[in-house]
């Protein structure tokens, strides 16, 4: 079992560009959540997907959007990138229970 995998591991984008991050959940997990972790901070909840629908959303602007596919994998899209969007983006999957498993994250740098 590969666990939660995210791609790419690192990414550099220019201000104003758009980015897509990808996540494959742990086998058997149908729920995917995305978190943003700024340097020196705890992860902040962005949104959660279940059955291809956004089930819950944190306090993030609608520049942040996502998608879940029938195989439960997920994408996070960020439009009109700002310098402040530079962070580690974490994906977590769960089988509908309380325990969530995190991927290694994608380090996004906006210049």
């Amino acid at each position: 079992d590969a666990g939660v995998t995210q791609s790419p591991t690192h990414l550099i984008k220019t201000r104003g560009q758009q980015v897509t991050l990808r996540c494959s959940p742990k086998s058997g997990h149908d729920t995917v959540s995305w978190y943003q972790q700024a340097l020196g901070q705890g992860p902040q909840f962005i949104f959660q997907y279940y059955e291809e629908e956004e089930r819950q959303r944190g306090n993030f602007p609608d520049r942040f959007s996502g998608h879940q596919f029938p195989n439960y994998s997920s994408e996070l899209n960020v439009n009109a990138l700002l310098l402040g969007d530079s962070a580690l983006y974490l994906c977590a999957s769960s089988p509908g229970t309380l325990e969530a498993f995190f991927g290694q994250g994608t380090r996004l740098t906006v210049v």
């Binding site: 959540s33 901070q41 705890g42 909840f45 944190g58 769960s94 309380l98 325990e99 969530a100 290694q104």
Partner: protein, 113 residues
């Protein structure tokens, strides 16, 4: 409101000693708490969890204590090892409502030789 906070940003402990990391939460309705360990360049790793109907739970070398009266929880690591060096987060998961995990800012644990 939604907040989970830690008392200290950095903790230094001698190798072999016990470590205690503290955390306060503000919402008395919180019903599930998790401790995560995050090593440099990695995602958070589940350590141990506790439900609000418990006051203590033990794992391998780790113990979590929950004091609902003062809204405080702690993580105790026995016989601290160099591999325990990491940032530790307490987190809250209000699974009965929306399943999102709310993290505190983290405590960095330094192991002294």
């Amino acid at each position: 409101g939604e907040s989970v906070g830690l008392h200290l940003p950095t903790l230094s402990v001698q190798e072999g000693d016990n470590s205690i990391i503290n955390c306060a939460y503000s919402n008395s309705a919180s019903d599930y708490f998790i401790w995560y360990k995050q090593e440099s360049g990695k995602g958070p790793q589940f350590i141990i969890d506790i439900r609000s109907n418990m006051d203590k739970r033990q794992g391998q070398r780790v113990t979590v204590l929950l004091n609902k009266t003062v809204k405080h929880l702690s993580l105790q690591i026995a016989a601290t090892q160099p591999g325990d060096s990491a940032v530790y987060f307490c987190a809250e998961n209000r699974a009965n409502r929306d399943d999102k995990i709310i993290f505190g800012k983290g405590t960095r644990l330094h192991i002294l030789p």
